[in-house]
Symmetry: C2
Subunit: 395 residues, 2 copies
């Protein structure tokens, strides 16, 4: 008999995926150039040329070096290189013993959740949040609970958080820079969060782990750096992906880095190797482990995202939208011009504007635009956006 | 709190891994050339030159084509190519709708088990068997039960199988060509197996699925083909890996192919996409999907494995070992010269011979040699093997 829970999931299709399919279908009618598809967070900039060069050099080396089995925690030299890069950048004493190579952030999170939760345990996250967290967590048997947003700033709604942080909570999951808001958690936010976690860990007599999902860490604007979550709280499990920084989301390469100050850091990395056996993970592709080891402190040319952010933020606020200014990522999350963002986004499709309602992200009344598209297209979308709000909302 | 089941697993180290570590350590003392390491099934032949050429060509194409997100079931053209190749080779009407791209056989099996078992359900497999099946299955919550071997032929012990095939069994897992015995299941074996599965599915009122783990499908000797498991039974879930045929085990590339004659084939492929969300799988690397699509009917030069088989089978039987002749893979599984194969293998290490006791594979009293090593080394190992059996067992 086929397993019901997976069969049932097929009827609940992702809103983002549906919108993206609509955009593709509409593109076939009127030309994809004429569809302003802000639905998908698919990086648009090319991988660095240097990455391609390294990849080709490596491909020519001998088979066992390049294509052989990786040790179960990842290739040792690669783990060492990742640790050295993290130490240099964030000033925490990372060693290879703290690093587990994973298949992108999704693979890293799959290990993190299983490390610290049994079925029935709770994980808290903060709206607005990446909707895939639900299947990621729910299918482990743990329970994801979502703290409502602080819509003023899209930092953390601490009042609600404090209320929801019961004894059943084993982990708190943060995503900064944030998908979908584009907001970067401030040092103040992270300090307050860490203090509460320490207080409640002591009160409940068990560690509440902080799981930090950081695929957008390198996409921060105005030359700033996102404050490093691990630096604020010892029991942090960093989940990283190279997808966004190096523009290779299809290659599924990332890592888990356990804070070296976490008392069980080495044990936890070894446990990740055991978790892998149960979920068929068995390491990311060896070739891409070797490639990223040579590209650790480099990124694709990410400047287009800031250019797009500047245009959209200026134009949207000028049109009358309320909007927190994104500090990073390639997302912006304005307030819709009517209460029901689903209706708002449906109306937008008449203007070939593909926007995603915030309901999906736990923030009804808002909508997400993924501006990882050509700047030229962003510019061309301003006229239909203006027409949309004028004709539908008289502004 | 860290999850106990994963922590506990760390104390139960894999026997194969321990032996391999011993071989490495001994190699540092006396030179690895002088250690006859038959412990690990790590392919030794290079990838085809053509594969490297295709890989380099693809790496030069544009980023979104090569490194972009793969659709959740795999790249459509790749699924189509895999289906066409399977149809041509096995005469079953495979279409892309029957194919789900997976991260090697381990990734494929992780999906297969979750498709058809709930926690508490049973999966049967046949000794001798690949020991990783235990964590693969046990960590899903299902229960793996092992049918004792037919030591005459290492085909299936049907008497025991019939006894153990109760109503709780939701799937039967086969691995042919087999690790560790090297035996290829005959058409007769597969016919009998399929008949029993049909009979019992009808009797119990639920489909008993056949999960076929086929990473060694291309390594068959004397110009033969392994009988295609799916051709014998409609409800077969084929799990394939390119690791062995193309010598790229580290790149984690394979697929699930549901038998087109299975009534729920398309549904099951879609369900695999949902299972992925829960285990952080999210497709194998895009680049390697594209690479293997161009290499589907090709293999590395696998002839060395047959050469090695010939030498070892001839010499081992000449030394007095009882041994079923391997029809494929790069394993041979002779009977040890004393009852406890663990003691036998421990004694062998004195001669720098690294052999793996059969207990690990559910067949005590036997031992495995993985002969995916240079022929020159196989030849050099004959003298110490002869010395070992003469000095220790007087033969």
């Amino acid at each position: 008999m086929l397993v019901k829970k997976y069969k049932d999931m097929l009827s609940g299709k992702s809103v983002i995926r549906q919108l993206s399919e609509f955009a593709t279908a509409r593109g076939q009618e009127i030309g994809y150039d004429n569809v302003f598809d802000y639905s998908l967070g698919n990086p648009s900039v090319p991988v660095p040329e240097e990455l391609t060069d390294r990849l080709i050099e490596l491909a020519r080396l001998d088979t066992q070096t390049v294509h052989g089995y990786s040790p179960s925690l990842g290739i040792t030299d690669v783990r060492e290189a990742v640790a050295a890069s993290l130490e240099k950048r964030f000033g925490l004493p990372y060693r290879k013993e703290h690093i587990f190579m994973a298949s992108g952030a999704a693979g890293a999170l799959a290990h993190a959740f299983r490390l610290v939760t049994e079925p029935g345990d709770e994980i808290l996250t903060f709206a607005p949040f990446f909707p895939e967290y639900h299947p990621y967590v729910d299918l482990t048997g743990a329970v994801l609970k979502v703290v409502p947003p602080d819509t003023e700033s899209f930092q953390i709604n601490f009042e609600k958080f404090y209320e929801m942080l019961t004894e059943k909570v084993m982990a708190v999951l943060v995503n900064t820079p944030n998908n979908p808001s584009g907001v970067v958690y401030s040092a103040e936010t992270l300090t307050k969060l860490a203090n509460i976690l320490r207080e409640k860990s002591a009160e409940y007599g068990h560690t509440i782990y902080l799981i930090s999902d950081e695929p957008y860490r390198e996409i921060v604007f105005e030359g700033k750096e996102a404050p490093c979550v691990s630096a604020f709280y010892d029991d942090t499990i960093m989940c990283y992906s190279f997808s966004k920084a190096l523009s290779l989301p299809g290659e599924r390469i990332g890592y888990v880095a356990i804070n070296p100050r976490c008392p069980d850091a080495e044990l936890m990395v070894n446990m990740c190797g055991q978790i892998s056996r149960g979920i068929g993970h068995n390491c990311p592709a060896s070739l891409f482990q070797l490639v990223i080891a040579q590209m650790l402190d480099k990124t694709a040319d990410l400047s287009v995202y800031e250019t797009n952010r500047d245009i959209l933020y200026r134009e949207l606020t000028d049109m009358g939208f309320t909007c927190v200014k994104p500090g990073g990522t390639f997302y912006i999350f304005p307030k819709a011009m009517e209460e029901d963002a689903k209706i708002f986004c449906r109306k937008a499709t008449k203007y070939d504007l593909i926007l995603v309602p915030g309901d999906t992200f736990g923030a009804p009344g808002y909508f997400r635009m993924a501006y990882c598209i050509d700047t030229e297209k962003v510019k061309r979308s301003i006229e239909p956006l203006r027409r949309f709000v004028r004709e539908e909302y008289g502004v």
